[in-house]
Symmetry: C2
Subunit: 239 residues, 2 copies
DNA sequence: ACCGTAGAGTGAACACCGTTAACAGTTAAC
DNA sequence: GTTAACTGTTAACGGTGTTCACTCTACGGT
C-alpha cells in the first residue's frame, strides 16, 4: 500500500522513456516508423519487455496520442493566458487558431498521428473510452469554451431558425447545454468556424493545397479573417 | 507486335481480377486488410505470382487508387450530364457537391483510401508522376472546370485585391490560367468553395463531427447553401 | 535478517507480412 | 518445331506484433 514506492517511480520513468522513444521515432520516421520492435530497439530492450508496460502496440500508440493531445491542449491554453491578462477575446480566438496551425506546421508527424489517422469506425456503439478519445474531448473543449465566452461577452448576429431548417435547429438545440446555452444559430456559426478552421489546417498540413498554393500562409490568414467576421470579430483588427 | 493477342487479353483480365479482389478486401476490411498476400489468397494464387502484374504492393495500391479516382470522376461527370441537358450551372455544382458526399458515404473504405491517407510527403521535389496522382488531378479538374464555367456564365462578385493582400493576390493570379483567366478574387472564392466542401465531407465521413452532430446531413445542406451563395448561386434555389 | 513473491527482462517460438531467387510448365512467335 | 517469353510455383529472408516459459533481481512482511 505504498504510494511513493521507488518501484513505482522507476516504472513511471520507464513508461515515460518508452513514450519518449516512440515520439522520437514518430518525428524522425513518421507514423509507420513507430513500431513496437523499433521502440524496444531504441531503448536497448527486447520487444516482449514492453508488454510489461503496455498491453499491445495499439495501446502504446494510444497513450502517445493522448500525450500529444494533452501537450497540444496545454500549448493552446498557455497561448491564451501568457499573453496580456485581459486581452480581447476575439484576439484570443485568433491566437488559438494560429496556435493550432503553428503546432501542426512545426510538428507535422505528431499532427498526422492525431488528425490524419481518421478511422471510419463503422461500429455504432463506440462509446470510446480510450484515453486518446478523452484527451481529444479535452482538446475540443478549449475551442468550445472560448467560443461560448465570446458569445456571452459580445453576442454575434446569427442566422434565424428558418434558414437553417427545423431538422438542423433541433440537432443544434440539443447541444445547447454544451455551448453555454447558446441558441441554435449561434452554435451553427461556432460549428462553422471550427469546421472551416480544422479543414483548412488539415488540408494545408497534409499538402492537399499544394496543387494550387505552394505556401498557404496568406490564404490561411485571409480565411481566418473571414471566419472571424462571421462571429462578429474583426481580427486581426489593428490599424 | 500483336495488339489483340489473346495473351494480352488474358493478362488484362487477371490484372482486373487482382484489383477487383483488392477492392473487395478494402470494402470488407478497410485499408489495412488489402495486403499482397491477402489478395493472392483471394484469387487462389501464391503471393509471388502477383509480382508478374505489379512490381510491388505499393504499386498495386496505387493502381487501385487510380481506378477509384477515375470511377469517382466518371460518377460525378455522369451526374452532371445525365440530368437535363441545359440544367442551371449552379444546380450542376450542387449536384456535384452532393455527388461527392454521397459517393463517400456509400463507399467509406474507398473514400478513406483516396482522401484519408494524407501523406505529409516532406520531400520537396515530388513531381508525382504516379498514376494515382494523375487521376487525382483529373478528379480535381471536374470541379475546377465547372467553377470556371460558372464564372464565365454568370460572373459573381468577388473581394477586391485590397482585402486579400498583395501576397495572396500574387499567388492566386499565378494560377489564373488554370482557372480560365479568372481574377484573383474569383479564384479565391472558388478555392474557398472547394476547401469548405472538401473539409466538410472529410470531417463527416471520418466521423469527426459525431461528437456534436450524430447525423450531419442537415448541417451539410445548410453549409452547401451558404458556400453556393458566395459564388452568386442560390441553390438549392426552389421554393 | 530472512524468506517469499511480485515484477522486470530474456530467449525461443508462432503467425503474419512484403519481397526475392531459382525453378517448372504452358503458350505464343519465328 | 524449336525457341523464347510468360505465368506460376516452392523455398527462403528479413521484418512485424504477440505469447509462453523461464530467470533474476529487489522489495515487503513477518
Amino acid at each position: 500500500m505504498e504510494f511513493g514506492g521507488s518501484r513505482d517511480r522507476r516504472r513511471a520513468a520507464t513508461v515515460a522513456e518508452i513514450k519518449s522513444a516512440a515520439r522520437r521515432l514518430l518525428v524522425s520516421g513518421g507514423t509507420a516508423a513507430v513500431g513496437l520492435r523499433a521502440v524496444a530497439r531504441e531503448l536497448g530492450l527486447t520487444p516482449p519487455a514492453l508488454y510489461r508496460y503496455f498491453p499491445s502496440h495499439e495501446a502504446l500508440i494510444g497513450a502517445l496520442i493522448a500525450d500529444l493531445y494533452d501537450e497540444l491542449t496545454a500549448a493552446l491554453m498557455d497561448l491564451q493566458t501568457t499573453d496580456d491578462e485581459d486581452v480581447d477575446l476575439g484576439a484570443r480566438l485568433y491566437l488559438l487558431a494560429n496556435g493550432l496551425r503553428d503546432w501542426g506546421l512545426t510538428h507535422p508527424a505528431e499532427f498526422a498521428l492525431l488528425f490524419g489517422t481518421a478511422v471510419p469506425s463503422p461500429d455504432a456503439a463506440d462509446h470510446e473510452e480510450t484515453p486518446g478519445h478523452q484527451a481529444a474531448m479535452r482538446f475540443g473543449s478549449v475551442f468550445k469554451e472560448l467560443v461560448a465566452q465570446i458569445w456571452h461577452w459580445k453576442p454575434f448576429p446569427y442566422p434565424p431558425d428558418e434558414v437553417l431548417g427545423s431538422e438542423l435547429v433541433a440537432q443544434l438545440t440539443q447541444e445547447s447545454e454544451h455551448f453555454g446555452g447558446m441558441p441554435a444559430g449561434a452554435i451553427y456559426l461556432s460549428l462553422t468556424y471550427w469546421t472551416r478552421l480544422y479543414g483548412l489546417i488539415c488540408m494545408e498540413i497534409f499538402g492537399q493545397l499544394h496543387w494550387v498554393l505552394p505556401d498557404a500562409a496568406a490564404y490561411f490568414e485571409a480565411q481566418l479573417y473571414e471566419i472571424g467576421q462571421a462571429l462578429g470579430l474583426d481580427c486581426p483588427a489593428p490599424e
